[in-house]
Symmetry: D2
Subunit: 297 residues, 4 copies
């Protein structure tokens, strides 16, 4: 079968004004994204600060994204919760609001007891209970948990699990090897690993830099699927430098400011994440200006 998760997705940020969600600004951003080459969106994920939103806010953010996307673009929506029951409820909620797939991060609070047996049962139970297909989300930098290849091997054939998104520094190669013979998509979680991951068989990625530079990120995907090694390598280096200057050093707040520099609505993250300082803004602006993206537009 053909892959399901393909191309470049942007993990849409949530604009705030004085700590309140600015749905109108989000809708304005979506209008531009809908005209881009993005294949889809990660809605209410890490960069959307989903963990900082109330249930009601999450729902309205997702609705705004679904309403604003182009018809051919897909929506993968975060369905984060610590218990199997609550996660299935989240999957059901995002499905009812129009998400195509649910992104299911590892629970992590009880990490010391969440061994392979627990994680396998968790993902199989959620996949059974979710009305839409799910993708696993491995994000040890946020959760302190890693989906093992043992777990992945045990769940990857479930018909309602379409793939895995990985933002760890080094698991993606193992995930690709583990699922090489299966109908299962491995998605890179950062600009830094998109190129090498695609060389090894990944089907695309969710790239925070795409919030600011959607078409350039989509271009890297195109070079990769065309096996245009030379230009892919070159753009990989360019995006890697850009990413170091933006997301690598400043996280969500940096991505939001870069998005602003690129002409979208960005703004500060919700507290406790601190607003980015003026000197950090300068640094991000300089990192962006130092790079000529015009050859890739």
């Amino acid at each position: 079968m053909s892959p399901v998760l393909t191309g470049v997705y942007a993990p849409i940020g949530t604009p705030f004004v004085k700590e309140e969600v600015a749905y109108d600004k989000l809708a304005a951003n979506m209008e531009k994204y809908a005209a881009s080459k993005l294949s889809g969106y990660l809605a209410i994920g890490t960069n959307g600060e989903c963990v900082s939103l109330s249930e009601t806010e999450r729902a309205k953010v997702l609705e705004t994204i679904v309403a604003g996307k182009a018809p051919q673009q897909k929506v993968l929506a975060g369905a984060n919760a610590e218990s199997t029951k609550l996660t299935i409820e989240q999957c059901t909620m995002v499905a009812s609001l129009g998400a195509d797939y649910a992104s299911v991060i590892t629970p992590c609070y009880f990490k010391k007891k969440l061994n392979d047996d627990a994680m396998i049962k968790y993902y199989l139970d959620v996949a059974d209970g979710s009305p839409i297909p799910i993708a696993c989300y491995n994000a040890p930098g946020f959760t302190g948990m890693t989906i093992s290849t043992t777990t992945l091997k045990a769940i990857a054939s479930h018909e309602n699990i379409i793939g895995i998104k990985d933002t760890s520094p080094g698991m993606i190669g193992s995930y690709l090897r583990t699922t090489a013979d299966l109908d299962f998509d491995v998605f890179s979680g950062t600009a830094n690993t998109l190129f090498p991951a695609m060389m090894m068989g990944a089907t695309g990625g969710i790239v925070s830099l795409a919030n600011a530079f959607p078409d350039v990120c989509a271009k890297l995907y195109e070079f990769c699927i065309a096996d245009d090694l030379e230009r892919a390598r070159e753009l990989h280096m360019v995006l890697g430098k850009l990413n170091s200057g933006v997301s690598g050093s400043y996280g969500v707040a940096g991505v939001k400011y870069a998005t602003e520099v690129a002409g979208f609505h960005g703004g500060d993250p919700r507290l406790p994440l601190l607003p980015i300082t003026d000197s950090d803004k300068d640094s991000i602006k300089r990192a962006i200006e130092a790079i000529d993206l015009s050859p890739y537009l």
Copy 2:
């Protein structure tokens, strides 16, 4: 001023029947706890599996605990959320339901960006916004975050922050030194550290073993405040061995089963935490039976 958080608190577990909260069983447990020597309760905390409960369930569990406690017993209620805004909402909610204090764990999802500046602002903002006094909760085994002494020093004098509960293996000594001259209570988070922590100045503790053996745990507190070194040491050793055989190896599920062995309603944790196996049950039962608690009743 006198300390506010004193004595032994039990971190009340949530009984489930087929994945649903059994409020009646919780109420039955509370009837017995109300007759015990416990000074108070941690409601909807780690052992209450608060992260696995919905908003509605959390509220009803807290209501049940408040309704069932004895008049002199205090309720410290978990107010866990990842954003300042949501945490203040949680504090307001638990206050409205009768909690005396809110237990505020560190946010942790964005841990890489939650430096001292962010954590100081977080706790000061929450303390400003909470209608009831708050206690900080340091639990690196669950969050991957540690409240630094720099943060503690900067927030400990806020009049709405009464203390800190620590379940880390080794921070409590530093917390006690940092706040020695302040009107600030340091509370031990496990049976294992209650005795040495009290020797160094802690005012009591929240002890999961107290869910099963409330009076024996309260007795250790009594020995400590009486400076009865010999008997405190002895009971410390006894409880330490018991704790290793229960919570140390099996976590929340182990505590629940020990609670059951002791005559309360326990039951399985909510998924993804797996039910405890029969052989683990045997092991816990043997650990309990091997110890003669009668001298401490």
Copy 3:
């Protein structure tokens, strides 16, 4: 300038018989390696169990490797020590015995105090004091230390530092970006990352699997420099599976047994590393037999 570290190097293992180094068996292995397509050797490195050898044994192992290699093959020799002074002495020792380059791992005992300033001075001092060029070695799985890109940027232009070898799960992309414009070689430290690292600009790698299958590993390098994406990808997958079944699960002892299966002298590691069990041997043997390497010979 052209790269210095190129091709595939094997990190030669040290055969022991009853805990004593079997130099004759090592020499016999070298005879075969000298006839292979290997570009060079890592002598007295991790797989050589250098940390388990005495000073005298290290010297004799290195001599044996230098004596046995083919003229065109290079020797990179481990120069591990915790102080700058001792590391320079090690570099001088390996130089005097014929090593071409010294591999200098991060010191790690005092890791809490070894910040960027300390590490920069360390590498510059060692580079100044070493009679032969040095390569940095980043191996957090063994040392608990990571060479930061800040450190790398500050030292990469030193004329006596030729490159870096990386066995971490995810730093190699950052190392390549940091040194892209410099005359500096980045070397992959495992079979798993050789292909993606070379796609991004690495000049080769040190691959424990090459102890058992030198020519097949060298073939992957050839495919990569020829930009033969299809065959490189395929062989990458093959070697990845093989590596998971050998080094990934069983470490040094697994590599040694695979080496034995492939017709070299392997044997048990020195204690405290335990000998590999019979069932682990079976598992490794099956992993090797399951893969047809003949198309790559």
Copy 4:
């Protein structure tokens, strides 16, 4: 049987002048220590920067300490190596130079393969091979390894293993519980835990602060064995604050400078440890001057 490791030991630092060991300064320090209330010394341990010394230097440092000590004082000497064979050789060496006991840290380079089985065999083999009794040394801050209670239980009855020294933040309580019924000594590794550890049954400690303030540290031990809770608590707080201002923030270099302030020979550590800055020196000096130790002399 009576405990063997008792009282307060100082982990003697190694004075350097221009990167060379200053044996005369070490001898001069020993003259003063010999007149103090110290029960013994840790020679060539962490604070002695043993990992930065050559074999020859280690031997001469140990000889100097043995020659300078008072007759009733004991010498526990570091016997650090990564292989069982080399560790036994180190034990034999320190025994031949007059050490009473060998301090055997965990090997750590191959930490991923050093499971309980490997560690149990390691300590039993070393204990069998050592001509003098050994004490285990748990130091995860330096090694990234922790001696488990499973390992400890399996080795603690060996007649040539007298005890364990612990510098971890939180294992000492578990070690005391595990060995409570055995003829086995548990020694605290820092000033911060000496008091609570002794309350729980430890027999003394190795305290870096004792390099600067030997008699004051010995006094805390005296208060503890006298069960003089009030004065022990008070001095515990005093030493804790002092320790935070010295060793806690600045490590080995801080201890050396404090030693100098107290009238001994200190000096810079050997590289790669950086010399302490002038502002750090000021900070340490102020921390020392802020505390009145005269009531404890």
